[in-house]
Symmetry: C2
Subunit: 253 residues, 2 copies
């Protein structure tokens, strides 16, 4: 019987520290194929490439590990990896470890979660790991036993079809444990830093402050992280607002 096959991608690029850390953990659980962007793709969401071509290069090959860099988006990487570089359907799709937080509404912007949603759309159990620190020097070691616990659990039990996991760790040296959470709510404010170019035109950098609107007792990922937990938020692919259907039915008349 073959070992589990684990496809790994990210949105920081194949050379980022976070993906190396995750690959080292994942190799103990199965054969690993990495298909990751050739550079930073933060904020990629589940974008895909329609209007230009996608290329990929085999960077590294050894027993139980192949690494490809890809010119496409994180979503492209998963699609291409499954179709072209995996000899069997992966048992698991992993993303990260992302250098930066993807909790709360950031699940919508995240390229890390783009990887995870695409894996989930393909019917594969998929997990995204993110760490609050943006530093490329982050020490991911405190996350390690928790990542192992989650991977073991998911390989053994699988996730329900249409459900994937968004795992976010605060930037602290010791965690209180794992907490299964809901998506935090909030809003980005002051999002644009306006500058004038040397030639006099106006341009903008996307920045901003996230203002949470969670109540103190809400079981959200943001609240869990504040209490020192690693937040595990199950995310669903079917985004229908079922509870709104009745109220809209007057549109049908």
């Amino acid at each position: 019987m073959k070992r589990p096959l684990i496809l790994i991608s990210n949105d920081d690029g194949f050379s980022a520290k976070g993906i190396h850390f995750l690959v080292d953990i994942a190799r103990r659980y199965g054969d690993v194929v990495v298909v990751a962007p050739d550079g930073a793709r933060s904020g990629s969401s589940l974008s895909v490439t329609f209007s230009s071509v996608v290329k990929a290069n085999l960077i590294k090959e050894e027993e139980g590990l192949k690494v490809y860099s890809c010119t496409g988006t994180p979503g492209d990487c998963v699609k291409l990896g499954i179709a072209k570089f995996c000899d069997r359907t992966p048992d698991l799709v992993l993303a990260g470890i992302n250098h930066g937080d993807n909790s709360a509404v950031n699940v919508h912007y995240s390229g890390t979660m783009g990887v995870v949603k695409e894996g989930c759309l393909k019917g594969i159990s998929s997990i995204g790991f993110s760490h609050f620190s943006h530093s490329m020097e982050t020490d991911f070691n405190p996350m390690k036993p928790y990542i192992e616990k989650i991977i073991s659990h998911v390989l053994e039990n699988k996730l329900p079809i249409g459900v994937c996991l968004n795992v976010n760790a605060p930037d602290i040296p010791k965690y209180a444990g794992l907490k299964v959470c809901t998506m935090g709510e909030g809003v980005w404010q002051n999002e644009w830093e306006e500058r004038i170019s040397p030639r006099g035109f106006t341009y903008y950098w996307l920045v901003g402050d996230f203002k949470s609107v969670d109540k103190q007792d809400d079981n959200t990922d943001r609240n869990a992280m504040k209490k020192g937990y690693i937040a595990v938020t199950p995310v669903k692919i079917n985004v229908t607002a079922f509870e709104a259907i009745n109220n809209l039915s007057s549109l049908e008349q």
Copy 2:
């Protein structure tokens, strides 16, 4: 009292036929600010631009209408439009009319729905309109009374916070009406067309066939469109898989 303010964007670019058609309708309901990409951004999802700058140009200004082209993604356009080019908070964010279908799981890839999700994340009632045909010559006139009905309804009643609308029209000359639906399920197959460049390297185009897995009686957007309806799917921003939380609680031990 000021007229309603309507912010419009898309993922086909400010010069696409679909957005002109939508702007002409929307102007009857309020003042319109268009902030749309300077070219095609299909498949943008809710991607945003972190690693380069964003610029915008005022293309057109007349009574009740301003049009800006923007170098960013559809999501950037909404963020920048609200922050910099609207003199008050918009009452409505509209996207489209997209040249191509965004029903079923395509809500996740769609730049049109990226616009809509971003509007919704900002607490504004937001609606995306898409038409099954990819042709830039599409006749959108049959959609017109239905678009008017939906805009009127939403301006009057507002959408619940955290809920937006994904409206998809089949490519037929006469519609059976509007149908309020759930998101269809299915999977993209045969997604990559592999080619060899003149210089001998392999590259890929993202293509594919969508295989619906909806049952015949499911009230999905795909099924409604098959029956000649324009599908109105309410989409929620909180993507927590609440029903999966209990089953994952063993992770907390």
